[in-house]
């Protein structure tokens, strides 16, 4: 690998000598001879709807949405669209967080303060425990607050409010009806972005899946983001909504224009297959897609790809049905392998599909380290590691 790196660096140096304007961003480059670890081509990936027709064919959409039109949107625009629908359709919806009023540092709340007023879309002081606690208080008095934490890496100051309060309020209120904070949604950008290093890369979802009372959702695309976010806002339970920030601008597709919801706690089979099941959510799905395309070509196999979508409470039925069919399974996520979402999914599969398994359940995930700046390409699951794991489970 070091050879690849140094030749990559030489290539970059050559380019920079030729034309200073065409400087290669070294942190975004890939090895020149790579066949597997090449950047995702969002313009051609089958995981995105490249035509209006394919976007509207989605059986999960409401009839109204399916009869409507589509707009090409990236993920931040789809989020913005969902927030706009939510604010328009329910006066109880509030949107706030740090720097939300001017449109947000990722542009997700663009124009919403001017359209819906500064009483409903506003900045809070820079305090995650404060703004999440504030959101819980508004929710227990009947509002539907959508709180934004600027990066998932900064949710930890609010951990007490989320774990001890948001998740437990309905339970401790008992039969005192309406004293819950089910109207609450907490949005946060998460996951690797190429150069986010320690505090702009984390995927803390498994920390929330260990907390009864929360729903944890990660969308993979603009269409999914819109439908799942509207479902999260409408949900009677508090929802942690993690938005893969690398997809904000990169993933562009046709998104139904109407307001629609997609089901929570329901996985989606993205591609049918009989030999191996690959389970993931969020950004790594694109790597999985690339890996299985190469594997199917090279190894003459059929891989089934499943997007968990809701990480907790998760859709065991869809997963078990697939594994019972394929007998081989790989779980892929960016966050550290130990006690990650993959651990829970693997353990449940082992309990439910023991007699059907033909290879050990595999996890391709972040290594047991932090997200160091220069090392991201070696830390997070890439196409090669997923490809290699598919190969290994087939050979087992």
């Amino acid at each position: 690998m070091s050879k690849h790196l140094s030749s990559g660096a030489r290539a970059a140096a050559r380019i920079s000598q030729r034309s200073p304007l065409a400087l290669r961003r070294r942190y975004a480059s890939h090895p020149p001879k790579a066949r597997l670890n090449i950047p995702t081509d969002y313009g051609t990936t089958p995981l995105l709807h490249h035509t209006s027709k394919s976007a509207l064919a989605n059986q999960e959409l409401s009839q109204e949405a399916r009869n409507g039109t589509t707009d090409r949107k990236n993920l931040f625009q789809a989020i913005n669209d969902a927030l706009s629908h939510a604010l328009r359709n329910d006066p109880k919806v509030l949107l706030f967080g740090e720097d939300v009023a001017f449109g947000g540092v990722f542009r997700c709340s663009m124009n919403l303060a001017s359209e819906f007023g500064e009483d409903r879309v506003f900045n809070t002081p820079l305090s995650e425990q404060g703004l999440v606690g504030f959101a819980i208080g508004a929710a227990v008095e009947g509002m539907r607050p959508v709180a934004e934490v600027q990066f998932a890496d900064y949710v930890f100051p609010a951990f007490d409010q989320i774990v001890n309060e948001a998740a437990k309020i309905r339970y401790r209120a008992g039969s005192n009806e309406g004293m819950d904070c089910g109207g609450l949604t907490i949005r946060m950008p998460s996951g690797g972005v190429g150069h986010g290093a320690l505090y702009h890369s984390q995927s803390p979802e498994s920390l929330f899946t260990h907390v009864p009372g929360l729903r944890v959702v990660v969308p993979r695309s603009p269409t999914q983001a819109k439908g799942l976010l509207l479902a999260a806002i409408a949900s009677p339970d508090p929802v942690i909504f993690l938005e893969p920030k690398i997809l904000y601008r990169a993933a562009v597709e046709h998104v139904p224009a109407e307001a629609y919801t997609l089901p929570l706690s329901k996985a989606e089979v993205l591609k049918k297959g009989n030999d191996v099941t690959v389970i993931s959510y969020g950004t790594p799905l694109y790597k999985c897609q690339a890996a299985l395309a190469a594997a199917e070509k090279d190894l003459k196999c059929e891989v089934e790809l499943i997007d968990l979508r809701t990480i907790y409470p998760w859709d065991k039925d869809t997963i078990m049905e697939s594994v019972n069919k394929t007998g081989r399974v790989i779980i892929v996520h960016e966050s550290m392998v130990n006690a990650g979402v993959g651990a829970e999914v693997a353990a449940a599969i082992q309990e439910k599909c023991f007699l059907r398994l033909e290879a050990p359940v595999q996890r391709v995930a972040g290594w047991s380290t932090h997200s160091g700046l220069a090392y991201e390409a070696f830390n997070f699951p890439d196409v090669t590691r997923i490809y290699d794991t598919i190969k290994n489970v087939l050979d087992y």
Binding site: D119, T124, E141
Partner: protein, 460 residues
């Protein structure tokens, strides 16, 4: 000096708002302060106009501002320790005899229940208890100035708020004994009361977490007050001790309440101790009140043993909180925790018994109001004896009744985690039922309503 400081702070805010109001662009929210719009430095100005401090005067004297004990914010009172009105010139306390009697009876009820339940815990009848001795005046007095519909967020030593709002002795006992009639469904430790009917949110153990909730709920009130102008406007009341005020949530809550102009009353019970920690180890400023001013919040300190003063301060604070579309107010009510922290604490391990006895004897909210009522001729020794005997009897009746009740059905262990039980939960309850049925001698289901059948999640 302290009051001067408040005035300066208020003046600074008014000035800031005034400056900004004139600069507010049409179509912009007038409540939203936009300091970053402050004008750039004028030539020859005697004031700084940085965006972060728009009206600070220049000085060539290098002086650090220092809080000293002489600066302590004054403590408002109406009655002295003998139950006499201190300011003879002032109008008589604005309270009917009937209301004064209610306040008194509520305080006495709480204090007798405390003694009985403290002993009950000592005998192992309930798992835990916390008394509110010495602080009955703060809870009952402030509650009496709130509207019944004002949402309340409490810490755990505010039994008087529940009592004043109409929590019955049965309600208290059902929670303490975790019976099937406990609206909290026997999930919370004793003293963690909550009531939808009375608009008091269920108490949780983590300290100070309720303070930002109160800010958010007050923002909801503000929005709802705007949307329903025909209904009586509401504020939120939030209680916490001086120890909890050291938590980050206190800071977060006061700051966001100020910036979002939320109609919320922050009521701090400063009773001198957080378990064993005296206030000297809790903070070095002028109590909690001095901090309110720093957040731009109108603040007052009141004698918490003077229920009439607490009542009056809360009434005025509530009016203030509703002005100009809403604003937070901080009340620091001074008292002394004459009891142990809880049944798990022996406070004589860290403070002298003689001090506690002295406080009990010298001054407490109950005897102070009693002396005032006796001075008015509406109370006497006979009435006192009768009230105490009747109250004790009523509490013991509720106690005995609750003690015999069953716990809720075992399904309550699993419900209300989500709005609807998940498939995983249903599966787990079925597993648990199998185990309980397979090993009947290992589990006592008889004290739960419905016994083993209570393990059915769908029966509810």
């Amino acid at each position: 000096m302290a009051s001067k400081r408040i005035i300066t702070a208020l003046g600074r805010n008014a000035l800031a708002q005034g400056t900004l109001r004139s600069k507010t662009r049409p179509g912009k929210c007038s409540n939203c302060q936009q300091r970053w719009n402050s004008v750039s430095q004028k030539q020859g100005s005697d004031r700084v106009q940085f965006p972060g401090a728009v009206n600070s005067r220049f000085s060539t004297t290098l002086r650090f501002e220092r809080a000293t004990e002489e600066d302590a914010m004054p403590t408002y009172r109406i009655l002295d320790q003998e139950g006499q009105v201190v300011d003879k010139e002032a109008a008589a306390p604005d309270i009917s005899d009937e209301e004064a009697l209610k306040l008194y009876k509520d305080m006495v009820t709480i204090s007798i229940m405390d003694i009985i339940m403290f002993d009950a815990q000592r005998q192992g009848r309930v798992s835990f208890y916390m008394v509110s001795a010495g602080e009955e005046g703060i809870a009952v007095g402030s509650a009496s100035s709130l509207n019944h519909k004002d949402p309340v967020f409490a810490q755990y030593r505010e039994h008087g708020v529940f009592q004043y709002r109409g929590f019955t002795l049965d309600d208290f006992m059902n929670q303490l004994f975790a019976t099937k009639h406990d609206t909290g469904l026997a999930r919370n430790m004793p003293v963690h009361y909550g009531s939808r009917k009375l608009n008091v949110h269920a108490i949780s153990s983590p300290l100070a977490t309720q303070i930002p909730h109160a800010s958010g709920a007050a923002y909801a009130m503000k929005m709802q007050n705007q949307q329903n102008p025909t209904e009586e406007p509401r504020v939120v009341a939030c209680y916490f001790g001086e120890g909890a005020a050291s938590e980050g949530d206190f800071h977060a809550a006061l700051n966001i309440a100020a910036t979002r102009a939320c109609p919320v009353l922050f009521i701090c019970r400063n009773n001198g101790y957080a378990i064993s920690t005296p206030t000297l180890e809790q903070y070095r400023g002028d109590g909690i009140a001095s901090r309110g001013v720093g957040y731009g919040i109108d603040t007052i300190r009141v004698d918490g043993n003077d229920i009439l003063a607490v009542r009056e301060v809360t009434r005025r604070a509530r009016e203030l909180a509703l002005q100009d579309g809403g604003r937070p107010v901080l009340i620091e009510a001074m008292s002394y925790r004459v009891s142990h922290h809880s049944t798990s604490d022996d406070s004589f391990a860290y403070r002298a018994k003689v001090d506690v006895e002295d406080w009990k004897r010298r001054d407490n909210p109950i005897t102070r109001l009693r002396k005032w009522m006796e001075g008015k001729g509406i109370w006497n020794e006979d009435k006192e004896k009768e009230l105490r005997a009747d109250t004790r009897k009523a509490i013991l009746n509720a106690y005995r009744k609750a003690e015999k009740e069953k716990h809720p059905p075992l399904s309550a262990m699993m419900t209300d985690v989500y709005a609807e039980p998940t498939d995983e939960q249903r599966e787990q309850m079925a597993q648990l039922r199998k185990i309980v049925e397979k090993y009947p001698n290992e589990y006592d289901v008889s004290s739960f309503d419905g016994g083993v059948d209570g393990l059915d999640l769908d029966k509810r």
